[in-house]
Subunit: 360 residues, 2 copies
DNA sequence: ATGAAAGCGCTAACAT
DNA sequence: ATGTTAGCGCTTTCAT
């Protein structure tokens, strides 16, 4: 930088100002500086800049890379959204373990990230969250909520799950089971609530034995389904609480040679990549991943820039999308239909074209 | 830090040295410092550290997040491997566009990353690669190769693809088609070569018309398969060149109600998440993603630390894994079998238990 | 409109 | 074994 300044016969402060546009500089002077930058191939050192300004323009993302279902999409979307505002992302995999998460956060904080987007790991997240609070770093929680001291953004779970149930009930099913997730998670609670709501709206009575835990993972879900199918009166339809559990459900069904949807209908929370080529294709609620990420980043940037510092923590729920395919047992479709599930539950009840009735 | 020093009644340099362990410090002194750190909740500022040491301990990852098949796994694996050595990852999505890639690289360089792991975008990567070279940043290329001035690590393509073909030929197929990728990519060339090699080894003659381009993406692959099936003598088996094209292949087959593997057998490069629940499950070559990432990071760290600075660019090919499932048309299996495909082609020919012969 | 100089928080050579 | 101090490359206040 001194090099550039010498070459342009100006002071370093002028160089700084033409680079950042932080104060008016005479056209000819600026031209000289710009030429000098060209000639020297000068590349501003953002580390030094960060030290001087006490801001890194870095967003720390801490997430359970392997376990969390939309790691890919979310991280990619956060990165994209952040970059539009001049931010970069530094990653930290929490492996879905709180201890690892705490360490990850520690590293990010020592790197002085301007803000954090966190998909909390399963387990006791208090220590991590408390730390975040005392450290005073702007933070937005994603996916799993738990703590109303933080901004949070995620999919609307209740109405979305209810719409799945109502759809199945509308096809004549009355014994609809739910494979639910880990009991500690807010998503699990909300989806269970949605399941019950859907049943009630359909005039069905929730039965405790039809809710089994798949512990948010494939293997437990597979076991749970096996247990379900061993009963005297097995369900005629299954709702799965997340993508991993859906895989478990399908494995169990497949191992028993149960045909979907003829023997048993399936509808699931979370879309799965390539779910359209599954045999049959899967009827699901898709999360608005890009929207969630973009919203989280927007919110975070607002907090970081000091705007909206007064209003309390926000909790934003974005509507999922009902993706209507074949596993629910409607007549075979030409292609999948999608429509949003609004937070008030409307718009979710009438599939385009209307589902075929198929009493069981 | 000055705070800590005052509290412990030592100088800042002593504090620095107990933190970094860079020089012996008397036990009682160290204890005082450590206590002071505890009490003040002092968190070292890595930005300042980076400025002083001219090292960020940051690995820049530039990758086509949405397009590239193993974005998730690779980034996660890089992050994990890097963290074991005290490195963090900063991300930059290139969207598989060279202009975006150049910008991404620019940003990472201005952030003074210690090294770069790059999955080159499709297109003319010369400018970016040249920049990397002139800037002198240690770099390891992943997945797509093209330039022998760089260290590179990826899957071994030729033998792996050959093993797929040989397996199908061993089942009696003689008209085996290949849906190949974008012609500009090294991976495409190598997999085409592997396809031919496999045919030759099986005593079959490669026929040009049986190689169609799926352009590395689902839709073109779907079109290509449709074209293939419209012929007077359609192939009896299809080898797909990557995961996205496999999806296209399956869509085409499905739309035509062609049964796999009865009407047509399928084997593919790249494993797909949950490929085991596909109907039928997919016989594929799985890439050793974790190994690739770990190897790339190891190599990068060697370069960054100045070790092995003399030996020329390395090109490391890691063997893929043959995952034997159902779409190839062997007898239904209990579960999937896996075995490595060694770079010399051995170990790939005899599936465990031996494939059932099924002449066409 | 431009420049001089004091930091930002740390490391590391040099001194004691 | 510990302390002093000169940077690292930039921003920004205060002068001019």
């Amino acid at each position: 930088m001194a090099d550039v300044a010498a070459r342009a016969r100006v002071s370093v402060s002028t160089v700084s100002h033409v680079i950042n546009g932080t104060r008016p500089v005479n056209a000819p002077t600026r031209a000289r500086v710009e030429r000098a930058i060209e000639e020297t191939g000068y590349l501003p050192n953002r580390v030094a800049r960060s030290l001087a300004t006490r801001g890194t323009q870095l967003i720390g993302i801490v997430m359970s890379a392997l376990t969390n279902r939309f790691f890919v999409a979310t991280v990619a979307a956060i990165d994209r959204a952040g970059r539009r505002h001049g931010y970069n992302s530094v990653l930290a995999d929490s492996r879905d373990e709180v201890s690892c998460e705490a360490e990850a956060l520690h590293i990010l904080l020592s790197r002085r990230v301007d803000g954090v987007i966190l998909a909390p790991a399963a387990g006791d997240r208090r220590p991590v969250l408390d730390r975040l609070l005392t450290e005073g770093v702007p933070t937005v929680l994603i996916d799993r909520f738990e703590d109303n001291r933080f901004d949070q953004v995620g999919v609307e779970n209740v109405q979305a799950t209810a719409s799945l149930v109502e759809h199945l009930a509308g096809l004549g099913h009355s014994r609809i089971a739910l494979v639910s997730g880990l009991s500690g998670l807010s998503t699990t609670q909300e989806r269970v609530a949605g399941y019950k709501l859907g049943l009630e709206r359909s005039g069905l009575v929730p039965r405790r034995e039809l809710v089994v835990s798949g512990k948010s993972a494939a293997e437990p879900a597979e076991r749970a389904v096996n247990e379900l199918l061993d009963r005297r009166h097995p369900p005629t339809a299954i709702v799965s609480g997340n993508n991993y559990m859906t895989i478990g459900v399908l494995r169990a069904l497949r191992a028993r040679r149960a045909r979907v949807p003829d023997d048993i209908a399936v509808a699931a929370f979370d879309d799965i990549e390539f779910a359209d080529v599954f045999q049959p294709s899967l009827t699901v609620i898709a999360q608005p991943i890009d929207k969630i990420a973009a919203t989280a980043v927007d919110l975070l940037i607002k907090r970081m820039s000091g705007v909206a510092t007064d209003c309390g923590p926000q909790c934003i729920r974005l509507p999922g999308t009902f993706v209507h395919r074949e596993s629910c047992g409607c007549e075979p479709l030409q292609s999948s239909k999608r429509w949003p599930v609004s937070p008030d539950g409307r718009g979710s009840k009438v599939p385009i074209g209307g589902p075929a009735r198929r009493p069981t």
